[in-house]
């Protein structure tokens, strides 16, 4: 699998978001939804709307109340819903995630906030052995309508313990659903679906995209879990990209256009359930595929997507499916090193050229 990469982002989130912004949301016509808000605002809107709709929705995590989370994404929620529904916790990820599981079994719809996705390492027992299995082990008697919010993504200069994209782990466990939104529009619609879902759902937000702007309708809408979105239609090659990689894929598609390669960008939006049909159909049409995911490709999301395509579109593929993911190293702190670990528009362009012999 390809592991070289150049600069994905600058160290400065704001500017970074601006830069990504320009190629954002090609999927939804800016005419249809004139209103533009950021990815972070979309997440907050989704949670606020669901909390208004349903008094059983509660939110807890570290510094989620007055601080509005470490990323300042949920500022204002505690003012509207009060400290009984928006609750600061001790630094006890396992404890309060498990507490969320128990609360979900007994009538609530908790949203548990895990500041950095890297800390999922601390809650895998509560997620994989408890939340994921309770419905099945009880023969369908107990339900766990829980949402766990976590982040993914590197290039923030946060080093190895604050830069991982671990969504492959929960995706591996039956009983869990996993959401990886890539635009403000998806972030809102998928979060609402996650909150209304009767199963444990882990939502991964790219911490570098919180300031990414995009059109989001004011009215209530929900995006069903398990439905991929073709973010850009094309004929020559399919780029299946998730979360942070979707904007990179779209940027690359624009560059590829210049050299006569018409790329289709497919965003699964959820890694489980996985919309295999849309992905495979696209590749059957284009006969070439790149899969992009910011997690490690090894035993990861890239591996699953590549395996699904290689099996499902076997008789249509003109070239091997190529995986682009984080370089298989702990994420280094030093900017030139860290930037080398993440796929970029340039990596995609080079890979696509090779696959299309252009």
């Amino acid at each position: 699998m390809a592991e070289h990469a150049a600069r994905k982002a600058t160290a400065e989130p704001a500017e970074h978001a601006e830069r990504r912004n320009y190629s954002a949301n090609s999927a939804v016509s800016a005419v249809a939804f004139p209103r533009e808000i950021t990815f972070g605002e979309a997440v907050k809107e989704a949670i606020a709307e669901e909390m208004r709709r349903d008094p059983h929705v509660v939110l807890f995590g570290e510094d989620v109340a007055e601080a509005g989370t470490a990323f300042k994404v949920l500022t204002g929620l505690v003012q509207e819903f009060g400290p009984t529904r928006v609750i600061d916790t001790p630094i006890s990820e396992a404890g309060f995630t498990g507490l969320g599981v128990g609360a979900a079994m007994t009538g609530l719809r908790p949203i548990v906030d895990i500041m950095f996705g890297d800390f999922l390492t601390l809650v895998m027992d509560q997620l994989a052995n408890q939340a994921a299995k309770i419905h099945y082990m009880s023969g369908g008697k107990w339900r766990v309508p829980l949402v766990v919010r976590a982040t993914l993504g590197a290039t923030r200069r946060s080093a190895a313990q604050h830069s991982q994209s671990l969504h492959a782990w929960p995706s591996h466990i039956p009983g869990l659903k996993v959401v990886v939104p890539s635009t403000p529009y998806d972030a809102k619609g998928l979060m609402k679906a996650a909150i209304r879902d009767d199963n444990p759902v882990v939502v991964f937000e790219d911490k570098m995209q919180y300031r990414l702007k995009g059109p989001v309708p004011g009215e209530d809408y929900v995006i069903p879990l398990g439905v991929a979105d073709v973010k850009r239609a094309g004929r020559d090659i399919t780029i299946v990209a998730t979360s942070s990689m979707v904007q990179v894929a779209l940027g690359a598609a624009t560059l590829l256009e210049a050299i006569g390669v018409d790329a289709e960008v497919v965003d699964p939006r959820t890694t489980w359930p996985l919309d295999e049909r849309t992905i495979v159909e696209s590749v059957k049409k284009t006969s070439r595929a790149i899969v992009m995911d910011e997690g490690y490709g090894r035993y990861g999301v890239g591996a699953e997507l590549a395996a699904v395509i290689a099996e499902g579109a076997f008789y249509n593929l003109d070239a091997p499916v190529t995986r682009l993911g984080a370089m298989h190293v702990p994420i280094p702190f030093s900017p030139p090193l860290e930037d080398a670990t993440v796929p970029t528009e340039q990596t995609v362009v080079e890979t696509a050229r090779r696959l299309c012999n252009k």
Partner: protein, 318 residues
């Protein structure tokens, strides 16, 4: 009161008879896998649950049959689950270590040691948030004191004044290792460190268990927060049904002492007779009646059908 004591006696005997049959099912190779018997510890589950309402919650453990029965589970459906039958509490999907039953407030047995500490605390969170006055009892063995999530949970429960009672069954062993080798300091000091009300009780004396837990349950129901109880008890049998030669970790004499002097059923029987609440004959009658019921329940489960293979993919998602 005396009626209640007889009822409590019946429950303890029922658990004992149930577990003896579980052991038979294993030795007769009729039960898949293993099971952890509650024999010797009956007074804890029964004493605790006698102080609970049907709509109160419990979480249980790998050694959970006694907890489930004491909270009101039906023996026939329990046997069916242990045998992996469709009629079981979990359609055969859970087995011995995962009996769950919303009807009786049983949030489920848990095969992860300490795995229910946070879940129980979450159920208590719901009870308080929803303005219910339900109390949650989290049963666990002293081995669970080794799991960090227990301390994270106690801290949360005390901070938020949640109606949960942590019920530590100290039967002296974590599997094949004496708890003294795994537990530093005093057990009761651990909840105390979080400001949690704690109590210790003779887990072989069902009346003492009831009298210790009842006020703590009432206190939690009032909204005055969590509590922690250590019940001193002993498992008369092996860690699981296959643990038959135990000499390398505990002596026959120790087992004998507990079985002859500290049998919770014998202790209550003596009290009932001495206090004139019941005579030996009536107690024997209870045994005979329950024996008959348990045999029928077990046979019904043995004859019950397995789930059909298609069901394997059901209940993964709600």
């Amino acid at each position: 009161m005396s009626d209640r004591l007889v009822q409590i006696y019946r429950q303890m005997v029922a658990i004992r008879l149930f577990e003896e049959r579980v052991n038979d099912l294993y030795t007769r190779a009729l039960m898949p896998g293993l099971a952890h018997l509650y024999i010797g510890e009956e007074a804890v589950a029964v004493g605790v649950c006698s102080a609970l309402r049907r709509d109160d919650y419990i979480t249980s453990t790998h050694r959970g049959h006694g907890h489930c029965l004491a909270k009101g589970a039906a023996p026939d459906l329990m046997f069916a689950e242990l045998l992996g039958k469709k009629a079981g509490y979990c359609k055969g999907k859970g087995g011995s270590m995962h009996i769950a039953d919303p009807e009786t407030g049983n949030l489920g047995a848990n095969a992860i040691v300490g795995g229910s500490a946070a879940l129980a605390t979450g159920a208590a969170f719901s009870s308080k948030y929803l303005g219910q006055d339900r109390v949650v009892v989290c049963f666990f063995g002293e081995g669970a004191l080794g799991q960090g999530v227990l301390y994270e949970s106690m801290n949360l429960a005390q901070l938020w004044k949640l109606p949960v009672i942590y019920l530590c069954e100290n039967n002296l062993y974590n599997e094949y290792t004496h708890f003294a080798e795994t537990t530093a300091g005093e057990i009761a000091a651990r909840p105390a460190a979080f400001g949690i009300e704690s109590a210790s009780v003779d887990g072989q004396d069902v009346r003492a268990v009831h009298d210790t837990i009842a006020p703590l349950v009432a206190r939690a129901r009032r909204g005055d927060g969590p509590a922690f109880v250590v019940a001193a008890t002993y498992r008369f049998r092996g860690h699981h049904v296959g643990d038959v030669s135990r000499d390398y970790y505990r002596t026959k004499q120790e087992e004998q002492r507990w079985m002859s002097d500290r049998d919770p059923i014998a202790i209550l029987a003596a009290h009932l007779v001495a206090s004139g609440v019941a005579d030996r004959a009536s107690l024997d009658g209870i045994h005979a009646e329950l024996t008959h019921q348990m045999d029928e329940a077990m046979q019904w489960a043995i004859d019950a059908p397995y789930p059909s293979v298609e069901e394997v993919t059901e209940d993964v998602y709600a």
